[in-house]
């Protein structure tokens, strides 16, 4: 029996990280008291007109560039007409005829291979109001009405839930790193609709749309469950209808919302309130040049510095750390990343602080990493002065001095201490010479104890080996 093959297409809505709304000058921020960030335009008041937010266009353009789209240099907006209480004007301003970007792709890694997922188009539009339902009433909050969105529509190029999830991870990473969107699925700033169909032949099956899935892992589950459901229907002799479904995480299944009316009649037509918008070559170049180094490029840099795969992904997942590392090009990034992912991150989590809240200047961090790199300070010292490094304006040297931490680098003084320890541990030397390597660690520990951890560990190590060999 031949198996059913899945075909998956995804539509993602992303809220753009702007200060104000797409077509009005009220604030873009709806996590506040209801109907606070609103103006006459957001409510569709008679006589109001949309005014296009330049920065929103810039962010959408950035996204189109990063998704390798062909840019529509002359574009206009369209009206999508339908009645719903969360749509104040009775139409949504969107781009149907001339989306800002078309024919792009996103590269994903799947089973060690690179695969291109086609982007059909990316267009700019406005968000709707938020609604709460209680018994026989609904309550509207227009703070979200008019928030700038981009909608990114893929080709039906994905064949499995893991490809779909990889695509979403990748997309999220790109949009997040380019500062285009917060991409918080749990807060709704990134929303995901999935089209799934199954077929045993080349001819595509009838697809269903599962709307507003709450997380990337749920997308994977929803796809598999929906494909399973469709297979059962077909195997029982039924047929799939074009319909809109939703995914219940609780029950792990998709649930019918509505059968699609034959041809949703949105009566699209060009928005006459907004003239043609042209994007000049210079402008597109400028936006292109403003794009920061993207994750894939960063991964390459980290790899060159021999940072482990696990740590590379940990860094990428924490953009503040990754961005911080961009400040340095001539330090040991492996040590630097260990510090940031380890002690520093732990400290920040404990104190509930962000890296940018601290006083860890680039200069200070560079000094610390270099000292550690050359073995001039032991890790213990770093741990001891961590709080000082992060919380005070003092330089590294000042901190070391103020805390009476002296790193003993005086060879003569060290020599004396080492020989004292060796004299008191004659049997251990014999053991070591008989091949018990761990004795060295024990002796190191004794010496460090004696010096209260202030000795330069690489120097101690060197002297210790020399002195043992003399005996």
């Amino acid at each position: 029996m031949t198996e059913y093959k899945k075909t998956i297409g995804i539509e993602v809505h992303c809220e753009l990280k702007t200060n104000t709304k797409m077509f009005s000058t009220s604030l873009n921020g709806y996590q506040t008291i209801a109907n606070k960030n609103i103006c006459a335009i957001d409510l569709g008041y008679p006589g109001t007109l949309p005014i296009v937010n330049k920065y929103a266009v810039e962010l959408a353009l950035k996204a189109a560039i990063l998704l390798n789209c062909k840019i529509n240099r002359t574009m206009h907006f369209d009206r999508k007409n339908y009645f719903y209480p969360d749509l104040p004007k009775g139409y949504q301003i969107t781009q149907a005829r001339t989306p800002i970007g078309v024919n792009g792709y996103v590269e994903i890694e799947i089973d060690g291979k690179t695969k291109k997922i086609g982007i059909h188009d990316i267009h700019i539009e406005e968000d709707t109001a938020k609604s709460i339902h209680k018994e026989d009433k609904s309550y509207l909050d227009f703070n979200r009405a008019g928030v700038p969105l981009i909608e990114i529509v893929t080709e039906p190029d994905m064949k499995s839930s893991s490809e779909a999830m990889a695509y979403l991870e990748k997309l999220k990473e790109i949009l997040y790193y380019a500062d285009i969107s917060d991409c918080k699925m749990e807060e709704g700033s990134m929303r995901c609709d999935v089209n799934v169909s199954i077929s045993k032949t080349e001819k595509l099956g009838v697809r269903t749309e599962t709307k507003n899935i709450g997380s990337i892992s749920s997308v994977g589950l929803a796809i598999n469950e929906e494909a399973k459901r469709q297979e059962e229907v077909l195997e029982n002799g039924g047929s799939i209808k074009e319909e809109t479904r939703r995914y219940s995480e609780l029950e792990n299944k998709t649930i019918l919302m509505r059968v699609k009316e034959t041809g949703n009649d949105y009566r699209y037509f060009p928005e006459a309130d907004i003239p043609y918008l042209t994007l000049t070559e210079e402008y597109i170049e400028k936006v292109k040049n403003d794009i920061p180094i993207m994750p894939n490029e960063r991964r390459k840099i980290y790899k060159k510095h021999e940072i482990s795969e696990i740590n590379i992904e940990k860094i990428i997942q924490d953009k503040t750390i990754s961005d911080y590392l961009l400040n340095f090009d001539d330090i040991n990034l492996k040590i630097a990343s260990n510090l940031l992912l380890g002690d520093i991150k732990a400290y920040l989590n404990k104190e509930n602080k962000k890296l940018s809240d601290t006083k860890l200047t680039i200069e200070k961090f560079k000094t610390v990493v270099n000292k550690l790199d050359k073995g001039e300070i032991p890790n213990k010292v770093f741990k001891d002065i961590l709080a000082n490094l992060l919380e005070t304006e003092k330089t590294f040297d000042e901190i070391v001095k103020d805390n009476n931490i002296e790193t003993i680098s005086d060879t003569k003084a060290l020599l004396e201490i080492v020989n004292n320890i060796l004299n008191n541990n004659e049997p251990s030397i014999i053991e070591y010479k008989n091949g018990h390597d761990r004795i060295l660690k024990f002796l190191m520990g004794q010496i460090m104890k004696e010096t209260k951890g202030s000795a330069n560990p690489s120097l101690v190590n060197k002297i210790l080996l020399e002195e043992i060999s003399k005996r």
Partner: protein
């Protein structure tokens, strides 16, 4: 009682400057005139309290411009903060806006005094002002007749000399056609000349606010006051500041005038044709050249207009849903019931008909078959106009095919209202400026208007020709004086 408002604007200005009269005298006179001409039904809302307050406040201010202290009437589809704006509809019967239209801000900055909001066709949909929820305004030349529309209240109150200045709006002739029926000067400026922010949208790509006055000079003055790029309206256009009165009084010798053959075809009444031909002779005698030309698609303009205007209107009026403002059906069974009943009861017959047709024209494949096709032919028509302006300064013709007619006529024919505007609609399609000036009277002594069309942003040139004709004809255009005779 003295009649200051019938003096010229320069004389009034002089009296104000020399403190011989105060703004409140003008306000008093306007309200008295309105009161004694109530049967014209020009106004939906009067704003006595604010008008008097403003007049008193102006007493202590320097008379800094020629429009200072002058009463003005505003069509009731232009948004006025804290002053009811009804669009002559039950839908907005109690609607109190929260902001001022850009033109209102400009009027206020000139210290003009807003007297009230004028009657009109509901949501500006109509050519007779009879679709008003508040009953039609009437024509001062014959009170059994229509004032035209949709800016009928503004045209009627100017014609009857109740106030010297008014604002109207023109989507498919709504300033020029009633101006013609009432014997006044009405200008629809170039699309983008005047901000539409605060004009309740009927058809976004056609709507334009414009001045309605008793004479050409006043008209140019009011246009001076309301033009300019506005950051609230992306379709408004940035232009160098200009004085629209600057060419008034200049010789018209050498001017090249075109008359489209369509404008003198059989659809025009004989009397009107004769009057226009007299003007053509007058212009020739005074050194202008007049040629007959063909402009493409003029005979399709009404159909283009129906598609574009009704399509856009169906979308623009979707916001009236009984939820955020406007009429709301009480105790609906459910959401659908709220939508359908609020809109069925809140909107009048003509508005509903246009919304229905517009929705149909944009549905499914129709958007391509009709709307996009109309936009494409419209582009061609605009090019044809532009080609004509390569060789000619201005285009002229009659404003209307007939003079004003009796109230109640044509109400049952959904097409009549569009045919009334057949000569003025092409101008909106092409985004050009169009002006009506009175050029004579019919046998029944109803005004006849000349339509002057200019190239984009050539309003000053239009005023030049209009004032020349106005001066030569020197018609008695005050209907009340005419009646007294």
């Amino acid at each position: 009682m003295s009649k200051y408002l019938s003096l010229s604007i320069k004389e009034i200005n002089e009296l104000l400057k020399t403190k011989k009269i105060k703004p409140i005298d003008l306000v008093n006179e306007a309200f008295e005139e309105i009161e004694s001409n109530k049967d014209l039904n020009c106004f939906i809302t009067l704003d006595k309290e604010n008008a008097y307050n403003k007049a008193r406040e102006l007493e202590n201010k320097e008379v800094d411009n020629i429009l200072f202290g002058i009463p003005i009437a505003i069509k009731d589809n232009i948004i006025t903060k804290h002053l009811k704006t009804t669009c002559a509809s039950k839908m907005l019967e109690n609607f109190v806006p929260i902001y001022d239209a850009t033109v209102i801000e400009k009027i206020n900055s000139k210290n003009m005094i807003i007297i009230g909001k004028t009657n009109m066709d509901e949501f500006a949909m109509g050519s007779t002002s009879q679709t008003s929820y508040f009953g039609p305004p009437t024509n001062p030349w014959n009170k059994n007749m229509i004032a035209g529309g949709s800016s009928g209240g503004s045209a009627s109150c100017i014609s009857a000399r109740l106030v010297p200045f008014a604002l109207g709006s023109d989507t498919g002739g709504s300033i020029r056609q009633p101006a013609s029926y009432c014997g006044i000067v009405g200008m629809k400026p170039t699309y983008g000349r005047v901000s539409r922010y605060g004009l309740v949208a009927f058809a976004s790509s056609l709507d334009q606010i414009g001045p309605m006055t008793t004479n050409v000079y006043n008209n140019a003055l009011l246009l001076n006051a309301i033009v300019g790029f506005d950051e609230h309206d992306l379709t408004s256009v940035e232009r160098k500041e200009e004085d629209f009165t600057r060419l008034i009084g200049e010789d018209i010798k050498g001017m090249k005038i075109a008359v489209p053959n369509f404008f003198l075809s059989d659809i025009i009444s004989k009397e009107i044709k004769e009057n226009v031909e007299k003007i053509i002779e007058l212009l020739k005698e005074n050194g202008a050249t007049v040629d007959y030309v063909d402009i493409k698609y003029l005979d399709n303009a009404v159909n283009l207009y129906q598609i574009i205007a009704m399509g856009e209107a169906s979308s623009n009026l979707a916001r009236f849903d009984g939820i955020k403002f406007g009429y709301s059906y009480e105790n609906p069974e459910n959401l659908e019931d709220l939508y359908r009943k609020s809109r069925a009861i809140g909107f009048g017959k003509e508005v509903k008909r246009r919304i229905m047709v517009g929705s149909y024209l944009l549905s499914g494949e129709n958007a391509t078959t009709y709307y996009n096709k109309a936009l494409s032919i419209r582009d061609d028509m605009r090019k044809s106009f532009k080609d004509t302006f390569q060789n000619y300064d201005l285009i002229i013709g009659p404003t209307t095919t007939s003079t004003a007619y009796n109230l109640g006529e044509g109400l049952d024919d959904p097409r009549q209202t569009f045919m009334d505007d057949i000569l003025v609609i092409p101008v909106n399609m092409a985004g050009l400026p169009g002006l009506n000036i009175p050029i004579g009277f019919s046998k029944k002594h109803l005004p006849i208007g000349l339509h002057i069309i200019g190239d984009s942003f050539e309003e000053a040139k239009m005023y030049k020709l209009a004032s020349f004709i106005e001066g030569k004809l020197n018609l008695e255009l005050n209907p009340l004086k005419e009646v007294a005779k």
